[in-house]
Amino acid sequence: MIQLGSTVALTGCGGPLSTLSAAGPAADAIATLWWVMLGGSAAIFALVLGLFALVILRPGWGSSVSPARWIVLGGLVLPGMVLTPLVAYALITGERLLPLAGIARQRIEAEGRQWSWTFRYPGEGGVQTVNVLHLPAGVSVDMAVSGFDVIHSFWIPRFAGKIDAVPGHVNVLRIQADEPGRYEGQCSEFCGIGHALMRFAVIVHPAKDFSAALAQAAASSPASTKAKE
């Protein structure tokens, strides 16, 4: 399934912000869920429209099936058989993506404000970067996300789902990048005039080089070193 996902990614689902070209375990699990649901939905859609075509084009075709049976089979049995395993599958998937205590090796704070992202690295001497997030590859990271003014939403589509940056609250999202490289993230909650431009870059370093690379990046970027509070 994962392989199917990446093949299609090359042909039609690519792009720097595509949820379907997963580059981390969370996005990968969700992409798999998507392909499963897509297949199931296509089958159900074909069934419903096929039945509609048959009852219209072949009058009397379905009249041997009693009305009660139509309703019980189509209205109760079919959705029951589809929804029960689907909900269970999705809940188990969701449970595995939770930031359970004690597993993450990094904790990074992200704060959205109109219209930029500030990232602080308490485990790395408290340095901070603006609009560029540095991550170690292959390490699960807990992003502690908050909003300074209005609600924003922190989202790196190729790594994981999004989490809202709500003023007064801190939400934790676990993300992990598989490979070093450059990725993109963006705000995905409407936050005013500058919402469309509230993107950020994500630079993933090999885990062993992370601390050094972060220190270097923080030192070389004047915007990032300037402590705001």
Partner: protein, 843 residues
Amino acid sequence: MSASVDQSAQGSPALQLHRQLAAIWGTGPGLQRLAAVNHSIIGRRFMATAFVFFAIGGVLGMLTRVQLATPTADFMTPGTYNQVFTLHGSVMLFLFAIPLVEGMGVYLTPKILGARDLAFPRLTAFGYWCYLFGGSILTGALLFGVAPDGGWFMYTPLSSNVYTPGVNADVWLLGVTFVEISALAFAVEIIVSILKIRAPGMSLDRMPIFGWYMLITALMMVAAFPPLILGSILLEVERAFHLPFFDPTRGGDALLWQHLFWLFGHPDVYIIFLPMAGALSTIIPVLAGGPLVGYRAIVVAIIALAFVSFGIWVHHMFTVGIPHLALAFFSASSAIVAVPTAVQVFAWLATLAHGRPRWNVPMLYVFGFFFIFALGGLTGVMLAMVPFDWQAHNTYFVVAHMHYVVAGALAFPMLAALYYWLPLLTGRMAIHQLSVPAFWLVFVGFNLTFFLMHLTGLRGMPRRIYTYTGEEGWNWLNLLSSVGGFIMTIGFALVVIDLLAQLRYGRRVRRDPWKAETLEWAMPIPPAPYNFASIPHVEIGPDRPAPDGLAPSLARGEGYLGFARNGWQETLGVHMTSGAPEQLIVLSRSTYLPLYTALAIAVAVLAMLFHFYLPALAAALVVAGLFVLAGQSAGLSRDYGPLPVGQGVSVPPHTELAGSPPWWALVFTLIADGTLFASLLFGTLYLWISAPNWPPPQTFTPDLGLAFATVVALLVAAAAARGSQRSISAGGTARGWIGLAALGLVVAIAVVVGLIGDIVPRPTEHALGATAAALLAYVAFHAGIGLLFLLSNLLRLRGGFLSSRRSMDPHLTRLWLDYTVVTGVIALGLVSALPALVRSLGT
């Protein structure tokens, strides 16, 4: 509006009866049209106005598609774009979808149930004016560049006065709340009308399925709108008077707004869908040439749907940081809500399978419905799955899903219904040359626009962005979506031309062209203002009264009430479940009062917009006065006793009966009010549990003595209302009792105002003070309305509208004051308990 009557077939008794009834029920020409209260006229106005707003919303939608067709476009500034997309959503939802459903309900419900009008004609008209004025304020703001720009769900703190200092958000909050008055008025009126005003013999199990759909929809509206109204009031109070309900820096919480909004927002999807599903359940059997399959299953399914739709609002909030366990409830609910929908879809398929379907224009739109709604439903189940929603939330995938659901639930069934019922409205049949290409343009254009958006969303395009760089892989998708949008627009334009052509050139029909089996076709078309010259007795059902044979005999006056009496607008009230005739309902006639009342509210709203609070208060008092004045002409000024209504049956007029429409109207109004109160309690407790910056630095000590005094004063008022009820029933004047009740209420108001003054922290400093003040203000407000009830009682006693038999008024007053006592005890109890609750939070 004159009605056509087939003279040769129905002979002169029918014509004579028509003339007499038309004189009573007609609306005057010229400016007197503004005084119309007739449901056919108001229903048509609702629908016509909704279509105008649909056109406005459509143009706004096209503007967004122009802006997004290419990357880095500068067709609009970001500020303008934000106003345009916010208004597109707000107009489509609040000014098109809901009012269209209301208009359809107002126009069709009495006709299908065999009644001459709805229970409260003046309320129908009042609702329409509120909708028209509120909608005009909302859209008019665009002309001045001050339209709302915070997205159609207006999330705080972005919509607070800190981040939206201008008038834009106020336009939304006040305008939408104004429009929602019409929704609540409609809901109460439809519930009472369906339960009490049907053709005799139409027990609830024989009621056409459309009646069930409208009844459940209206009941949902009663429960769904109050949370949004409360949220809008609280946010407007925060913006205007700085009480921090949603401001996280002062103990409010932005997430409370989201809860209140979506508590309304999700049921609203089904509020739009159910009436249209009712139309489908009416049309499909007719086109299939057989009875509807699974009537009882559908009734149970829509009851289930109505409830479950209130338990899924959090699926709009999967990314706000709620624990996964709690998300699981709402995820599972959002999935299981598909079951009652599937029951209906398969009931329709079975109906078609067991009949011999005709293929025509309405059926073409039924096909469009199946295609589009199935896709919208399937993506809905996908989005109900929490992890997938974490990715897809707030992307174009959701935009695509939402448009599939709304077009499937509303647009395509609406057009099926329009082509089906237009002969009833206009007396003419459709000309089909244009209808078919118009359908395919809409259908292809719609799918091209929105199907691709699923992929755009999965490729990461967030909603509500005014531009993109062109490197994200979204370019061709957006361009094709925009092309599709224009194809769809051309299709809708063709639909409009087609409908106009039908109005002008369509073949005239006099009777039921579809061989339908519901009562709206048992009248000459287009219908006369009184619908039925006489009211039928329903012997079989549901949906089987065979209107073709019935129509001439009804026109000759051979049913109930086939005569004119005292210049009264008469219709029959029946026993709620069995449909046995129970009361003669005398309806109020044309009046300008609804227009004046709505105008006064419009003045209040505009004054609020410009921060003229004293004039706004004065206008509000005028509104209160007009309501009391409206009460002065309701009912009958003497006792009549049982009156003959035809078929050898005599029933008393509604003024002399306990279970008359006003009683039920107040019951359902109080249910809506109770939902608002429950939302306020929820809000208070929610902030206590969840909001940042709690506990506040210091907290008031509850004054239990004063709280107790308030409760005692309210109890005295309620007891005095009972005394007045007994006194009037015994033929007395009850002045002393009314005075005592008024005294109790005045004392209660005074004490409550004092309590508000003593709250620490001050209501503007912290959410604790703000919520305590809101709870107390709720009590004072209801006591104040109680005073209006008492004033109306006094005036109506003096006017001779009350007697020992006509004693509904004191019953209504008692019910209101009982409600005030119950909510007062709860509110004062919670306010007194708040300091202890705050202490339990620790420091």
